[in-house]
Symmetry: C2
Subunit: 344 residues, 2 copies
């Protein structure tokens, strides 16, 4: 399987995030990609492709251009006020009833366009965001070129970002941009299977009222876990999209014996939907030792996940999302890809 990767994510680093009563270095670090690439190559996946450069046209089909412009300008505006080397971040948020008229103030924009304290914007963030989109869109091209599967090693991740809101380490929604690009490239229907530990609230929201993208997500119960407000089983889509959104929340402590049953449910629904392309939002923060997650999957389980996905025999576009257990991160990701290739 071709891997699409660029080093351009590397300078998206150095900011801190709030963990209760202290500020800690962000778990979502460049070293994550090093671990993943190393394990993939060690497992024999060494067909690494450099992404092509794309315009923002495909991005604007999913994201508000004013929001995209904010992401591009945020750091320079922040630096103009506070000097170099820091990171732009909001600490107050435009919730219901708070007029949200984006203006040219970086402070207002941060409060308008981000929904939590986990999307700091450093000098290198925009370059990384742009590159992650190129990595995703290059994958679309490769699938359209007839490859059966491809892996876009996007960083930063994307599945928490909606059309005009960044949050949870996510800025632009790489998986959603790819899904839309698959449609625009000729696919009639696309399914997104999100197996990150956290609910992909951004992806759900983007396609919530559409029937041409089926979104299925396995994740921790939002009563207990980020993003708390979305990801409930009752969220099944709306309007034309009714019936095309499937949430399978599971309690903390879930191990593979339960997880695999939910995965089967999702795969059966995807099979029934019969998409032309399957996009996998691949997070491995479901791993037992993940510092962020609370599930109990073991490394060999990820091979089974890859095999089960392969059994659908669909053109499959893997897109990297979360996973923070540094020692096992690479192995877990490589196991998914090897499992897929083994059965494919």
């Amino acid at each position: 399987m071709k891997l699409i990767y660029s080093d351009d994510h590397r300078d998206h680093a150095g900011a801190k995030e709030m963990r209760y009563d202290e500020m800690i270095p962000m778990s979502e670090s460049p070293e994550r990609m090093d671990m993943i690439m190393e394990a993939l190559v060690n497992a024999g996946h060494n067909d690494v492709v450099v992404p092509k450069s794309f315009s923002l046209e495909a991005v604007y089909k999913v994201h508000d251009p004013a929001f995209v412009s904010f992401l591009e300008r945020a750091y320079p505006l922040w630096e103009a006020e506070f000097g170099p080397g820091g990171y732009a971040t909001a600490y107050t948020f435009g919730m219901r009833g708070m007029a949200q008229a984006p203006n040219q103030s970086i402070h207002s924009m941060l409060s308008c366009y981000t929904f939590d304290v986990c999307v700091p914007i450093v000098e290198g963030t925009w370059k990384a965001i742009r590159s992650a989109v190129d990595v995703a869109l290059t994958g679309v091209d490769i699938i359209q070129g007839g490859e059966k599967a491809v892996f876009s090693l996007c960083r930063p991740p994307g599945h928490h970002a909606s059309g005009d809101l960044a949050g949870g380490y996510c800025y632009l929604n790489n998986a959603a941009i790819a899904a839309q690009a698959h449609l625009d490239g000729g696919a009639r229907r696309v399914a997104i299977l999100d197996i990150d530990y956290h609910h992909g609230n951004g992806s759900q929201h983007i396609f919530y009222e559409r029937e041409d993208v089926f979104f299925a997500s396995l994740h921790a119960r939002p009563e207990d876990e980020y993003p708390f407000l979305m990801g409930y089983a009752t969220e099944v889509g709306k309007g034309d999209g009714k019936g095309y959104n499937l949430n399978l929340p599971m309690p903390k402590g879930t191990d593979f014996s339960s997880y695999v049953l939910a995965l089967q449910v999702a795969l059966r629904r995807i099979e029934h939907y019969a998409p032309d392309v399957l996009v996998i939002s691949l997070g491995v923060d479901t791993f037992v030792d993940d510092p962020v997650g609370g599930f109990e999957l073991q490394s060999p389980d990820y091979s089974v996940i890859g095999q089960m996905i392969a059994q659908l025999s669909l053109p499959t576009h893997f897109i990297m999302e979360g996973g923070y257990a540094m020692e096992a991160l690479g192995t877990n990701v490589a196991n998914v890809i090897s499992g897929y290739c083994q059965d494919g």
Copy 2:
């Protein structure tokens, strides 16, 4: 002038707040009240009244009962999950498009009912919130009993809290609850003059579509200062409330020579509105050395502010909001009250 004060605010303490890349002890501390009470007594204002106890009936006229219930239950629910001694706080926020169905999860409720990282809830918070409301409502009783002016020493402050959102050190909106209680006690019209450094977004929102409460606020430009998304001069009210909301934002660095002109504008508008009661949201974070604020008022200026308010000759209900320059805080508050009494 009678001062209404209770020690019940004291255990609302010990939490931290995010200041860029570190977590620091909250600026909004019990010691603020000690400074204020000491300076008031030293200035001869020693008619201190203990608040009466009120039911939540008056609160429910301004705040969603489910939100009030959240504030009461938040700490016990948090403690049940994380153990004693901490504080409940959100780090992700239910912005547009994120379904906000409050459920019994403390995490979901925090993300649904708070709009920033500056409203931690410790074990003593609910007692303090309740007491601040009693302090405000006792002031209403005293004004209705015929006193010309009264000072409710509320803590925590309230003006950032709207009907169902807490934020910016504010949980329930003491000034809004008092304004509504004045109306319910017979006043036909009430004006709120908010002279805190920050825009009173909660008070504005609560009365934005009503003509029986005129809200006027002098504050730092929201382009530059918290709460960033509200407080613009273009916000003039809506529906029946159109024309009954007056924002007078000023740039950082504003000193009294400019401030006093804006104050005159607000007072003239209030005079024209001819309310039966004037509620003052009294913040003194406009002081030159305030660690949170960026205006340049001097301590003697607060006497002038008190005198100018007194010249309206209206029944006046002072309600404490912000102010964080510990050395001058008491003096500045006492100067407002002394200035008012001197001219009254």
